[in-house]
């Protein structure tokens, strides 16, 4: 976007970029859904979707439930799904769960793959979605920095990172025949600090796990067994913003998935992981 009001601040620019992309994808595909993990990024994306459509989101919001999430996450999900009038879909990979798949069985890669990726594949097949909104950001991980705003996945769900379509100006990839669906990434340009400053500016409700209790808080949340809290005294939005500005380590430092091998994330993503 080359034209903007001189002096439009970074958060306002980011918000406008995201709303444009959200509306563009809905206009192109109609049969879309947003993935809501209930974390800070996807809750902010949900907020942006509400803003894009004047409070009434015209597509379903889907939670990929591994059943290993924190209780606070389920509580928050149900409260706001009701309050915001969401068309909520809760998707679970019942087969894998029945077979006992969990973080202690097999590798982390297998667990993520079955309870998240395979779960998503089944849900897409069931509902016939053509495009999915995801709240990933370039600054989260080097592999995510390579993503496009509109990113195709083929019929076997693969991300062809070696040959991505060009995105010129605001012209995005529209669906091609041999592709299963598109991933839409309206928040690609946001950084972790932008998210928190935006949450503070907009006063967006957040799961309590992000706020420090007894000297610990979560900087990134997902499944309870695979997330570690950090030492922190930040129990308010102001303190979280201050803490992040002073912190040198990256956000996913507490995530187990990224630790096994430098390319785990690349493998997960090429297989369809979010």
């Amino acid at each position: 976007m080359l034209l903007y009001i001189l002096g439009m601040d970074r958060l306002t620019k980011l918000e406008n970029e995201s709303i444009y992309i959200i509306r563009e994808a809905w206009s192109q595909f109609k049969k879309v859904a947003m993935l809501w993990s209930i974390g800070k990024d996807s809750t902010s994306l949900l907020w942006l979707c509400r803003k894009a459509f004047f409070g009434k989101i015209p597509f379903p919001v889907m939670h990929l439930d591994t059943t290993y999430k924190f209780p606070e996450i389920y509580e928050f999900r149900d409260k706001y799904a009701k309050e915001w009038g969401l068309n909520l879909i809760v998707a679970k990979n019942d087969e894998s769960i029945a077979a006992g798949m969990g973080p202690d069985k097999g590798t982390k890669l297998q667990c993520c793959n079955e309870l998240k990726t395979d779960n998503l594949k089944k849900a897409i097949a069931k509902h016939g979605f053509r495009a999915l909104y995801l709240a990933i950001r370039r600054d989260e991980h080097g592999i995510r920095a390579k993503e496009r705003f509109f990113s195709p996945r083929d019929d076997s769900f693969q991300w062809n990172y070696k040959d991505q379509p060009p995105e010129l100006w605001d012209q995005y990839k529209t669906k091609a025949k041999d592709e299963e669906h598109l991933r839409i990434h309206p928040m690609l340009s946001w950084r972790e600090i932008d998210i928190w400053e935006y949450i503070r500016r907009e006063n967006i409700p957040m799961v309590s796990l992000y706020f420090a209790k007894n000297g610990k808080r979560y900087r990134s949340i997902g499944c309870a067994p695979c997330c570690n809290p950090i030492d922190s005294q930040a129990d308010t939005l102001d303190k979280i913003v201050e803490e992040l500005k002073a912190s040198p380590t990256s956000e996913r430092a507490g995530r187990a998935q990224d630790k096994e091998n430098a390319y785990t994330m690349q493998k997960l993503r090429s297989l369809g992981y979010m």
């Binding site: 009001i5 001189l6 592999i143 390579k146 060009p166 100006w169 040198p248």
Partner: protein
């Protein structure tokens, strides 16, 4: 002026192996923008591959990129100086990945063009220069890198500067300045180099801080390409982003291409149903006084300040597909939210996008990575502007089999 809430996006372009990723690594390192765990991970992977610590791995995160030592796709990262925040867009230099370079560069407000002092100006140096001019990026800094490999000699720097100045002038690109650097060692990146006493100009960081924020869209009439219609309860919202001018309740607007007029009833955002106005860059929903038929691809504008509506126009085109363009083959033209079937009816001149040498006049085909002056004919009338006048209605893509196969800009419009 210090402004921490503003950011500036710039792209680093140039020939493969001339040091784009290394310069990025150096910029991040010297501004303390590298998280310690990221540095740890880079050290570890570098060791596993049996190399010295590779700054390039900060941006090159794909396994293939690290093992082969090349950048495949564009990526972005951030740093800040006391003056402002920066978003660095890394762009691959390899010829095969030009579409990824364009993807990154099309988001940039400024560019650093990097040239290897030992190798001098190469094919991609020139092609990327052409693409900067096609994209309309006006703020360009040239850095001559790896000065350590040529014993920091002023003559080498001067020779490259002379050669490139002439080439860029032909493309209407005027670089702000030329800086001799050694990115690997940090000479003239954040700190002035003791190895080049003959150079007294800016460092890369101080040159970046001297760039200007993009100027405001000049005093223009309203341009709002319609994205979609959204019905909610009793309301029928026209959704879109204001690209130029401003929109207010009570304002008379013209709908292109039909030319019908109506009056704006409300300009709205979520929980702001009665905005007094919206300006360029803002995404809004508007309602109209009459139930006029408006659809995606219409362009709302101001009476008397409307852009031209045409089916035929001259353009500069850059062909991105391995499959050549054939004159008269059916394609889709997309300009802002407008879309029409169309064709290239004339390829007036065909260029090598690296040397800018004319390959053929009145050509029948256009090959991968060639540039051309063409005439495009669209089936539906399109609201257009010359790129230099109003970029949003002056830049377009061509689509074939659902893929973007070319980028282009509207060259000249005659009102005939």
């Amino acid at each position: 002026m210090e402004n921490q809430n503003q950011d500036l996006k710039f792209v680093i372009v140039g020939h493969v192996d001339h040091g784009k990723s290394t310069l990025i690594g150096r910029l991040l390192y010297d501004t303390n923008s590298l998280p310690p765990d990221k540095m740890e991970e880079i050290k570890k992977t570098s060791e596993e591959l049996g190399r010295v610590v590779e700054f390039a791995f900060i941006m090159d995160n794909l396994q293939e990129e690290r093992e082969q030592g090349i950048t495949i796709d564009t990526a972005q990262t951030f740093f800040r100086t006391p003056k402002r925040q920066y978003v660095i867009i890394d762009a691959p230099g390899h010829v095969e990945f030009v579409k990824n370079m364009l993807t990154g560069a099309s988001l940039a407000e400024a560019a650093i063009l990097i040239v290897d002092a030992a190798e001098g100006v190469k094919e991609q140096t020139k092609r990327h220069s052409y693409l900067l001019s096609l994209l309309g990026i006006k703020q360009v800094i040239v850095v001559v890198n790896k000065m350590d490999l040529v014993d920091y000699k002023e003559e080498v720097f001067d020779k490259i500067k002379g050669e490139l100045t002439e080439f860029l002038a032909n493309l209407n690109v005027q670089p702000k300045l030329f800086i001799p650097i050694a990115a690997l060692k940090g000479d003239n990146v954040a700190k002035r180099s003791d190895n080049m006493k003959w150079y007294s100009g800016q460092t890369v960081l101080s040159a970046l801080d001297d760039l200007e924020d993009l100027e405001q869209a000049r005093d223009q009439g309203l341009i709002l390409p319609v994205q979609e219609i959204y019905k909610l309860e009793e309301k029928r919202y026209v959704l879109g982003r204001v690209e130029a001018g401003e929109i207010k309740p009570g304002q008379t607007i013209k709908v292109l291409p039909s030319g019908q007029t109506t009056v704006v009833k409300t300009v709205e955002k979520f929980q702001q149903e009665n905005l007094t106005q919206a300006q360029s860059g803002e995404n809004i929903g508007l309602t109209t006084v009459d139930p006029l038929f408006i659809e995606r691809g219409n362009v709302l504008c101001e009476n008397g300040k409307e852009p031209l509506v045409k089916t035929e126009f001259s353009a500069n085109l850059f062909w991105l597909s391995h499959e050549p363009l054939a004159k008269d083959e059916p394609l889709i033209v997309k300009i802002a939210t407008q879309e029409s079937i169309g064709e290239v009816i004339e390829i007036k001149k065909r260029f090598d996008s690296s040397t800018m040498e004319i390959l053929e006049q009145n050509a029948g085909k256009l090959q991968f990575l060639e540039a051309a002056e063409v005439t495009i004919k669209a089936k539906k009338p399109l609201a257009l502007a010359e790129f230099s006048e109003l970029a949003e209605l002056g830049k377009f893509v061509l689509i074939k089999n659902d893929n973007v196969v070319a980028g282009g800009i509207v060259a000249e419009l005659k009102n005939n």
